[in-house]
Amino acid sequence: MSKTNGKIRIGFYICHCGTNIAGTVDVQKVVDYAATLPNVVVSKHYKYMCSDPGQEMIQKDIKEQELNRVVVAACSPFLHERTFRNATSQAGLNQFYFQMVNTREQNAWVHLDPEASTEKAMDLVRSAIKRVVFHKPLEQKTVPIKPDVLVVGGGIAGIHASLTLANAGKKVYLVERDPTIGGHMAMFDKTFPTLDCAACILTPKMSAVKNHPNITMWTYSEVESVEGYVGNFKVKVKRKPRYIIDDLCVGCLDCIEACVYKEPRFYDEFNQGLSKRKPVYMPFPQATPQLVVIDPDTCIWFKTGKCKQTCVESCERKAVDLNQQPAYKEIEVGTIIVATGFKPFDAGKVYYYGYGTYPNVYTALEVERLINASGPTSGEVIMRDGSTPKSIAIVHCVGSRDKNTNLWCSRVCCLYSLKLAHLLKEHTHADIYNFYIDIRTPGKLMDEFYTRMAEEGVKFIRGRVADIYPDTSDEEHRRLVVKAEDTLIREIIKVPVDMVVLSTGLVPRDDANDVRRLFNITCSTEGFFIERHPKLAPVNTFTDGIFLAGCCQGPKDIPDTVAQAGAAAAEALALIDLGYIELEPNTAFIVEEECSGCKSCVPLCPYSAISYNEEKRKANINEALCKGCGTCVASCPSGSIKQNLFEDEEIYSEIDGILNYEIYEEAVCC
């Protein structure tokens, strides 16, 4: 005979989490208390509930004690709700007969007073025990996953993720905003610590993307809108007009030669403005795809409507089309990888470093171009005033670790500063002074690289640069004086140098907020996208089916970026290969005989899941479209919409439990 006899039998468990919970919450007291509550037949504590023995204990009790409800007080449900639900269902109970109490993140970790903490735990445990009574057995919802993937951003992260997926046989759409893929890595000269040439390792991957049959590469394009959900996103991509017909252009560059501007005179983005380009240009020699682009902001035809259009005439293949309009592509994908990258910190924001005021103050990215063999000076370090520096100061932490700009350490600056020190020394034999706060070189072969630079004679001065100003004592040469406290020898030093390199940090892109909204993911206040869990789900977002790769999630170097891109691709593949994803059954439904057909709920649903049935004169919710926010439930004026997992009774019982309402009941009977 069943012990349950139709009765509710609750098993309650509280986890010590080592001392994480038990150090603050008196778990014995909570267990003793829970045992006195109605319907509780088992009340236990254990060192680690999420461990195998912990789970087995629950399963054993479910079977032996014929439990039909389980409540576990442990960490956040985001961490282990799934674990305990699985344990519950493996013991033969519907997994939704389970309720979790957040006793670690939202209790033990944030409160100091053990008494208050224990009392809070008891309130929430009582609340969960009351709630779980109303739980219903539910089935999980499964959603099929479309196999195609959208990768947003064509830097090294997007390139690597796309190739990984394409090599696994999946169809990939790679969308890049700029006219070429390659991102920041394409601008670098060499990479630390191995000093391999960035172009040599990147360009083969760029052409592999271009030539891969499974990759549709859309450059000079932007994602306009994203609708739908994991498994079935509908994405609209805008292909900006490059005024060149892709299929006809062979990259011969004749049109550039023919442009009415005889000399290049506009800011060249790829070379950070250190050289000039024409309105019609190829971003850089290895640009992928090998297509020129016409920039309407500088082209005289677009600005004045008057031009001889020599570019059009020059093209034998008639590839120049000045009337080209934006084209819109609509695609359906099951998963999305966001790899939108970073932006270097705007060095002008640290006003006293004189960037933009003194021509010989450079940013690190400018120096990358300056020392690059295919850069504006063909790799010779010739400064804006035409001279070659004999002494160079490299200023670390520009815009980083500073409450006035950005708090974070950008992680790569120390190492690229060392790299630039080496390359500048190699190119100019100049004296190099690195002004640093701390040298941070974690990772494989990184500190060895630091040692090597020291051996090469690069000078290191521990002190943050406080002021940079022209050296007035030297009237002809106008060198720059770099002033700082050398904190190790405790002296204020003024070092006259010819060139200053500002090692700027990595910051989120200006439109991070728009991108975040577009994909319905979250970002920190500074603008880096937030991963689902910093350790256990580092490439997932809070939105199922959308993954992160590269510096859009936070500053990182190339190896980590590539590793993360691979991980994001693997996460997408895991979904695609399973073919479906299980979702919470927290959908809303309308009880037809209760609905008066007042139609108030219909406009509330952003997913158009609610429709009005003209025949029955009632509203109806399409479960497949419902995302389970519960807004219509709260709004239904006659209480005729319910939400699975969040029914009114369940929430009322939580409120009752928290406030221990029984003690009042006698008082309020009449």
Binding site: G597, C636, C670
Partner: protein
Amino acid sequence: MPDKPKLAFYWCAACGGCEESVVDLAEDILFVVDNVDIIFWPVGMDFKKSDVEKYADGEIVVSLINGAIRSSEQQEMVQLLRRKSKVVIAYGACAQYGGIPGLANEFEKEEILKWVYEDSPSTYNEEKVRPLIKYKANGSDVFLPELWNVVRPLNKVIDVDYYLPGCPPSSKLLKEAVLVLLSGKLPPKGTVLAPDIALCDECPRKDTKPTDLAFTEFLRPNLHNIDPEKCILSQGFVCMGPATRSGCGALCVGGNMPCTGCYGPTSRVKDQGAKILSSICSNVEAKTEKEIDVVLKGIPDPVGTFYRYSLAGSILRKKVSI
């Protein structure tokens, strides 16, 4: 005719409309009179309290009590009727939720007395005389009922078996209720003897209501004309219909006025006012605090609008005094 079931009517804090509704039965009242023995009906016939006291406990089969409870006398009378009756029905909105008298719960008793006996424009009372609960007249003590601080629905004072909603209940519902009671097939205790679905269900303008409701302003029926063909809510007038039980046949809408909610909420709702607030506000179009406030200003008295009949029976019951 000792065998006919005994029936009592009583009124508490009410306007008298519920009593009228009994008369509204018209010729059907004869049917009622034929089948029951009305043993107490202060409005209609001359009975005394002592007449009721004479009956044995439970001897009265049904008491239909209308009006809210706000004085010592009303409490005393309904407690007496409860003792003497098998079944007590809260009759009408006031007995069920406090009704219009329940809106007095927005004020303190002293505020009310001061207004009525001193400050209202039509009052002339220089000595500020107030009624006494007990005074001597011709040598003997005379008692007046004491006004309570709180207006209560009937079920906060005595145990109530059934509810007949409405201000007043429609005669159709009353007749159906009487028939059910006479048949002896009693519904579960606590039942509201009206359909458990909102008014829109039977509203003649239901089909004119759009599915893309979005409020940009709220209008008041005393200041703006109502289109007699279209859903009143969709024109921007607060209509309580979506949050109110049906059963009246959408009488007010038939008279081109919005529903004010007298039938109370459905059984699934604890607080009618909160629910209609939730629904109507959710459908406001504005998105910023400022813009939202501008639109919501069109409802100058939210408590009086959303809780017109249900304040005393709502979750919060009454203004909290310090």
